[in-house]
Amino acid sequence: MSLEDVASHSYYENHGVVPAPDTPLTIEVRGRVVAVAGTEVVGSLPTGLNYLARCLQDGFRYTGVVTASSGGNNPQVQADFLAG
């Protein structure tokens, strides 16, 4: 999936670059449902996946990786996740 608003989240703001492919990610609710690398937010998940907020609340956990990323004027990050 494509993460949203990458340029305005803490990972890009702190490093000035997008995370490289294979960077490990988790999913958390920080206002929006977001993908997190370490402690920094990489991007928001599409709001069609808002139901993950209730799954997280129920105790489900999700891990994933960056599958592709590109910088420039419109930084973009693709990610894949699995439950467990």
């Binding site: 609710v29 206002g31 709001t47 808002n50 209730r54 609340q57």
Partner: protein, 442 residues
Amino acid sequence: MPETFPILIGEVTVDFTMPTRTADAKVRLGGVVHAARGLWASGQVYSVGAFCPAYLVEQARSYLIQHGCKEFVLLGVVTGSPNVIAIADAKEVGHQGYEDILRDERQIIPSCDHIDLDRFDPIVIFPGRYDLDGVIKQIRPGARVTIDAAYDMENIDYFLSLKGMIDSLVISTSSSLFSKLASRDVSPLLDLARSVGAKQLLLKENRGGSRLFDLGSGDIEYITATLNVTANSVGVGDVFTAVFGTLEGDSRDAAWRGMQAATVYSQTTWPDDLRRDIEREFQMSVEVVRGLGGSTLPWHSRPNLQIYLAAPDFSYANYGEISTAVAALEYHNFRVRRPVKENGEANRDAPIESLSTYYFSDIQLLRECAAVFAIPINRDPGTLVEIGLAIEMGKPVVTFDPRNENRNTMVVRGSSSYSPDLDVCLNGTFDALSKIERGSRG
């Protein structure tokens, strides 16, 4: 004071969703039963005041009692019509194409028995062909009354006669009253709601979310829509209204809970799944839900975010997919700019040097639009070039590929949304334009 319970008042129908090439037919109890399912799944005890054809009474009573209904009150019997609604488009991609069979023959005979509605509060009314006055006269003075003006409420003078009796007015952008009064400007609707003494107006704007107007303070709460795969949109608005109208406490919170229940209702037609998912939804606090984000694209903002139609929209080609997509976008109040219709169409053997005028005019139109809706049927080269130009301009491109002809890396990844399914592309359009609109609102 004796304990009171919520009651839902409306007609019971049979909703028959017609089969399509990809989906089986679906038959279920509809009308006020949609609202009842929503309350049952939300864990609420409620009653139903029903207007129902005689052949459905026992079935409806039994079904509702099994789904949380404390008391089934037969307010009247429908004659002359089976109260069967045939539904062509269950996802409301465009106009739903409701066929209310034998609607002009319908008569409603009020129940002969005196019915005491004094013990019910709050009250949620879904108007129909029945005598609304007769119902309202039986309501306990001071009861909290919510009216969903979806159907049979076009008469504004009649509305005004209800002054002082309505707490909340709920209306959808697909209702005839909205079309008549407020399709261009919401102010006349707000004025009407104030005139009848309503405290709030909830405007349900389909995939663009909802707005809750506090008519006292003037505050507006923007309720997001969560766009996902729609299983069936029939009755979704009724569930929203029922939860909003019956929850105790803050009306803003009730509107958010209504949205959550309605969203789940749109995603399944199986009652047990509905109940499980709504229970899980309601475990999140309203503040968490408010922070999750979603689509907010008010009806009246949509025409300002013009959409460029990139498609082989030529007079000599008659592609049904293009007209269906344009009709769906216009149904949702988007302004679709059609370059071929607006700037003219070059003759197929016109000299090359004569094409510049069309090219520059189309490029200018593309620059003026907020987004592109592309339908690259037959891999039309002009459409594919327009997709590329829009991507480079930073405009969102929604690509509807009904014939699966363009599963190309640059087309798929360059588009903010790509699908052969118009429903998905419509969601993509709302999502993309919602982000632009939110950015302009600050």
